[in-house]
């Protein structure tokens, strides 16, 4: 190679030329290949990566629907609030301003710095949520890089704890957690919209590209609750609990013609506007989730079954002497007072356990179970309330004579206050059962479960409980005829009955054409514990104002004009509540003694 051969030179030059051309050709085809790869083969990937750096899909927040009461009063309203958020790495680049930021947001400076460092790989953290817009504006005015605000919604409940259990509450993201807020969450929440925008490096929106999905605001909900009656029930129940030092209680008021729940209150209650940690038991809607043994209020259903069996009429005599009844197996049922020979109506009036047990034992257990079941016991009412309890009605096959007798006067089964109200509303509605509902104006058909004649006879019998010699005179409402039944039961605990009592009252008004059904349940009253003394007065006080608010005509109002047709007539009836002490001998409800 060292001795240059001039003859080889041109060939050498040509080889070089080819080599160079090849190299150039390879290089350019490499470029073309790369270009095709970028522009065609992997276009989607790079397009996506590029878009991801400046295109953003932003959520358009929507407000949650308002909940109105049946008269259009707002019960739950969402209003916008501002939440301050930060891009940690960007804030940390200007670490000198963290002190200023901490002061403005009211956070601890070291804790804030710590939080920013821990989350520095994220692009978004909340610093402070749900500020009122003016406070948020003040923080934004500091113009600290990486700090921005976002609109969110907070729910306010102007009625506070009065309707807290029924409405439930939402979490910090405004989603329903309990009560109707949960049951109707999809209806109320709406769907946040999505818009695509171009953002610059600083996070400013430069251009709206398109609307990906239109925002669908939450729809409003009109519930069946009447705020005024709800408040009445709340006030009277709370007062009764304080007076009797009771531990908890519930009241339900149903509108008989529609099955709508006009009021549902529980004590103790909570403030749904404060998200502080309260005892979870305060948040339970006891009227729907908690069960209670119905005690003597059960007798209305037992006697309905007896009338249906055809073996008993309202005036068929029942001998309750000597005030106790021993069944096979040694179980003895007691009446508090020996009433001797009474009739079926008297069993209701004096709440005789012996009478109820004797009547029950003449029926088949299948028939009794069937009637109870038709009244809605042992099954959820269909109100749709989250966490509703079905109560407990043992199957007829499991009943021995003792169970048959005790269930007849309300022991050995349990019901929710709402179920009890539904059962009494069936008697009030001429034997037609209608599921209670929380929604105003919903399609709510009823179905016949008991003969209208029997329902009418039952109402007549229940009227005797409210006037002497019946014990529940405190449930009276002037000018109106009330029908109802008291109950007192012991709470079952640890396999037996302890010394804690439950006072109940279930009633309807006006008895001749019932409009309202009310159920009062008070747990663990101290001192007096009979339903007639603890629960019945709450019914009387609430209904007195409720009939006025709802413009319900008194019973037999037409008859008053026969004497003086053209003059206004001051209403007087013989059924005036005694001002003196109640005759204590007839307020008992046959509480079982051990």
């Amino acid at each position: 190679m060292s001795s240059a051969n001039p003859r080889i030179k041109p060939a050498n030059a040509r080889t070089r030329l080819y080599v160079v051309l090849c190299m150039l050709g390879l290089a350019s085809s490499a470029l073309v290949v790369r270009a095709v790869d970028l522009q065609v083969v992997r276009k989607d990937f790079y397009q996506e990566q590029g878009d991801a750096r400046y295109l953003r899909d932003l959520a358009i927040p929507v407000s949650r629907g308002t909940i109105f009461d049946r008269n259009g009063e707002p019960l739950a309203v969402s209003t916008p609030v501002e939440s301050i958020w930060a891009n940690p790495s960007e804030v940390l680049e200007h670490a000198d301003r963290i002190g200023e930021l901490a002061k403005a947001t009211g956070l601890d400076e070291d804790a804030l710095k710590q939080k920013l460092i821990e989350r520095s790989d994220k692009e978004f953290i909340y610093l402070k949520r749900h500020l009122n817009p003016d406070d948020a504006q003040a923080i934004l005015k500091l113009d600290i890089p990486g700090i921005a605000s976002q609109r969110e919604f907070k729910r306010y409940y102007p009625s506070g704890e009065v309707i807290a259990h029924v409405l439930g509450y939402t979490n910090i993201d405004d989603r329903g957690q309990e009560g109707l807020e949960l049951a109707f969450d999809d209806w109320l929440a709406g769907k946040p919209g999505v818009k695509r925008v171009i953002r610059d490096r600083m996070g400013h929106e430069v251009e709206n590209v398109e609307l990906v999905r239109d925002a669908q605001p939450g729809r409003d909900l009109t519930v069946s609750i009447d705020r005024r009656i709800q408040y009445l029930a709340y006030r009277e129940l709370k007062a009764a609990l304080a007076e009797h030092h009771a531990s908890s209680g519930s009241m339900v008021i149903l509108d008989v013609p529609t099955g709508e729940i006009l009021a549902m209150v529980n004590q103790p209650s909570f403030n749904p506007n404060a998200r502080t940690n309260v005892d979870p038991s305060y948040r339970r809607n006891r009227a729907v989730t908690d069960v209670v043994e119905p005690g003597s209020t059960m007798k209305a259903f037992t006697i309905s079954a007896a009338l249906e069996s055809g073996k008993w009429k309202p005036h068929t005599p029942v001998d309750t002497t000597p005030g106790s009844l021993t069944l096979a197996g040694g179980w003895t049922t007691h009446d508090v007072h020996n009433k001797g020979l009474i009739d079926v109506t008297g069993v209701i009036t004096y709440s005789s356990n012996v009478g109820a047990a004797k009547i029950a034992l003449t029926m088949t257990r299948d028939h009794m179970w069937d009637v109870y079941h038709r009244f809605g016991l042992g099954e959820v009412t269909g109100s749709g309330f989250p966490g509703e309890s079905p109560g407990f009605l043992p199957i007829a096959k499991a009943w021995g004579p003792v169970e048959q007798a005790t269930i007849a006067y309300g022991y050995g089964l349990n019901v929710t206050p709402l179920q009890l109200a539904q059962g009494y509303a069936t008697i009030a509605n001429n034997g037609r059962l209608r599921s209670p509902t929380f929604v105003k104006g919903a399609q709510n058909p009823d179905r016949a479960v008991i003969d209208p004649e029997i329902a009418a006879q039952m109402r007549k019998m229940l009227e005797t409980v409210i006037v002497p010699p019946g014990g529940a005179t405190k449930a009276q409402v002037r000018n109106y005829v009330v029908a109802g039944k008291t109950g007192t039961s012991r709470t079952a605990a640890g396999g037996g009955y302890n010394k804690k009592y439950v006072s109940l009252f279930a009633g309807m008004i006006p008895s001749s054409a019932p409009r309202l059904v009310g159920v009062v349940v008070i747990h663990d009253p101290q001192g007096a514990y009979y339903g007639a003394l603890v629960a019945a007065p709450v019914f009387g006080k609430v209904m007195e104002d409720a009939v006025r608010l709802l413009d319900i005509s008194p019973d037999n109002v037409q008859n008053w004009y026969t004497a003086a047709p053209d003059t206004g007539h001051t209403v007087r009836t013989g059924r005036q509540a005694p001002d003196g002490p109640v005759d204590m001998s007839n307020v008992d409800d046959g509480v079982p003694e051990e």
Binding site: T66, P565, V571
Partner: protein
């Protein structure tokens, strides 16, 4: 024949240019309309929020407990009792 083809081609060219300009114009219009829509949407939302706040305020003032306390306490009002009730026939 050739003249006809030229006229046809230039017509197509003009149509293409016109449609390109129209496209740009339409996009611009759609952006303006979108901005207008967002503005009006925001305005509607703000009015709704204002309405909600006013409803809340009204509900707070009209809270039953507050009304009752003022009526019974400050104004010494009472519910009419049965003797004071007159039923009027219509």
């Amino acid at each position: 024949m050739i003249a006809f083809r030229n006229v046809f081609l230039s017509l197509l060219l003009l149509a293409t240019i016109a449609s390109a300009i129209a496209l740009v114009y339409a996009i611009q219009q759609s952006r303006l309309a979108f901005i207008e829509l967002s503005k009006l949407g925001n305005e509607r939302d703000d009015l709704n929020f204002e309405f909600g706040r006013l409803q809340l305020e009204q509900a707070t003032w009209a809270e039953n407990n507050r009304i009752e306390q003022i009526a019974r306490g400050r104004l010494a009002m009472v519910s009419p009792n049965a003797a004071a009730t007159v039923v009027i026939k219509r």
